[in-house]
Subunit: 349 residues, 2 copies
């Protein structure tokens, strides 16, 4: 006699829907229904099943669920890096919305390398994510091809894609840069410098720079007179870049930095050089990191709706794909936060 057939289901094995059904005296289909659309099951049976689910500590198998329904409740996030804290707020916003809906966030970094982004995307597709949040609208053809061929929804953040068919929750980096230029012009600054992020294959960095230059020009400042340096987003790099600018261009009275991280470094360089901010040099950052308010002097900066972008992206992916009010293009605003690092122009020396 096949004794093993009679052996009780191994207690130590995680229970499945079969075990639940057996105990509730119903079919697995009904158990599944209770778990997914409870209202379709008679109340007493439903409650009996739920009780058993609870008793056994049953947790559905996400892989099986995903395989069958082709929905994993996983959303991928691909950012260049979290090292410089710029994208952390978006990540938090995204997760804060996903979690209550039972969805999870899969995080990946590219290190600002678009080729690595291709591999990252492939990896996320393999994991079966329901959607991918990208930063910026500059990507390899291959990246987009992968996304299209595998029918993975995606959205762009931190920028607004020119192609309106691509969902984006972002802001116009150019206007952000323009905000800074405009304010410096208002203050009477004529000798400007920019420490931009690395603009190559980075539409955010180049947009901010372009917007700044264009507005400066409109305000009567000769574009070619503006000193521009590019620098990776690191404190030390901002410091080094500012040092060069201050040494080589003794008449510069204001510096616009493509990110607050660069600005922190640049502020330090001013101090190193014995220049005071804002008396000698005005400084404007970009991002409005939490720390900006706590620097000395408080950093004037362009606020980026980072958390909001994350939340909006989450909304987009959580919304029923056929829903009527699905916002696939959310245009958010930047605004200038004036603190103590900017003042009216005064000649240096």
């Amino acid at each position: 006699m096949a004794l093993e057939k009679l052996a009780r289901v191994d207690q130590r094995q995680s229970p499945t829907v079969v075990e639940i059904a057996k105990r509730a005296g119903c079919s697995i289909a009904t158990v599944s229904r209770v778990l997914n659309r409870p209202e379709t099951v008679a109340i007493d049976l439903r409650e009996r099943i739920l009780r058993i689910v609870d008793e056994l500590g049953y947790v559905p198998n996400g892989s099986a669920r995903a395989l069958r329904s082709s929905r994993s409740r996983l959303i991928g996030l691909i950012v260049p890096t979290l090292d410089s804290a710029i994208f952390t707020r978006m990540l938090e916003g995204l997760e804060s919305r996903l979690a209550p809906a039972g969805a999870s966030l899969v995080y990946s970094a590219t290190g600002y390398d678009l080729d690595r982004e291709i591999r990252v995307v492939r990896n996320l597709i393999e994991k079966g994510v329901d959607g991918i949040v990208l930063v910026g609208s500059c990507h390899r053809k291959e990246t987009l091809k992968l996304l299209r061929e595998h029918r993975v929804r995606f959205a762009v953040t931190y920028a607004l894609s020119e192609d309106v068919s691509i969902p984006s929750m972002g802001f116009d980096n150019r206007s952000g840069g323009a905000l800074a230029a405009s304010y410096l012009a208002d203050l009477g600054h004529k000798n400007l410098a920019v420490i931009a992020g690395v603009t190559r294959e980075n539409d955010r960095a180049s947009g901010r720079l372009e917007g700044f230059l264009a507005m400066a020009e409109r305000r009567g400042i000769d574009r070619s007179s503006i000193v521009v340096v590019e620098s990776p987003y690191e404190f030390s790099r901002g410091r080094a870049a500012a040092k060069i600018i201050l040494n080589q261009n003794r008449n510069v009275t204001a510096i616009f930095c493509g990110s607050d991280v660069l600005a922190v470094g640049a502020l330090r360089a001013c101090k190193d050089a014995g220049l005071s901010v804002p008396q000698d040099i005005s400084m404007i950052g970009f991002d409005n990191l939490d720390i900006a308010e706590y620097l000395t002097p408080g950093l004037t900066t362009v606020d980026v709706p980072a958390r909001l972008m994350g939340e909006q992206a989450a909304n987009y992916f959580l919304a029923d794909q056929n829903s009527l009010d699905i916002h696939s293009r959310v245009e958010l605003e930047t605004r200038l936060i004036v603190r103590q690092s900017t003042a009216p122009a005064r000649d240096r020396q």
Copy 2:
């Protein structure tokens, strides 16, 4: 005649292992083998299959793979929050190791709420993660029960669990606190204050505080003379806490903060109060965030091997479970980074 049977496989559908096998004229088992243990397949067949895989842009279905093999290549990370940048470095370290191995990181936040942690853990188990990285060794019974019952490997970071059967990659928060106390004693400070994190259900915050107090006592400073305030890890809260301390205890000459975030706020409070650091007040932080070096004055702080913990945790989960050299307890060191925010004691006023 059933024409649809003859219809070519829908090009627009992602190809599966069946399609590959068909084109290569072999069985799906062989395709699977090529993908997982290539060395077991004859070289010419293997290469033919790989070529087809490439041509078709085949991407394996992770859900099916996970379902069958019960390995998802997903590692969960549960931290209180990323808002204060404390845990970001660990996250980056973890991801940087997981990605090359084809594994991905699923991020979740608890907001310092241990009950929410239970739900988060359940959710991650449902997603089928192969392992979970936790922060600290203080958790609800139910959390641990879930992990055990579902046989999910997990590890503790940012602390060393007392229970040696629980893998941990962390450091001793008490020694970290002791480092700070010891250094302040060396400098001759006798009137100390601590702005600790919220110690309730937080072994890291309480460990740091305890270690500080114990060492201070050992160095002849009466424990009861030390002013202790607890505060959530936010710039503004650190500022508020320091303000109270400075107002109510005019003789305090040194403040130890349970995190750099608190220290940034506290530095600001000193400035608000017209006190200079380090001449009037010495300040020590904890974490050694990147920003610490760029504050004015540069912040003396206890360095935490955050990135390393992430990397070590990744190593642990990536290692073959039966491997001999699997390090399930990695004890890392904190060290004091002396900058400009600390100086020998001088009476205030």
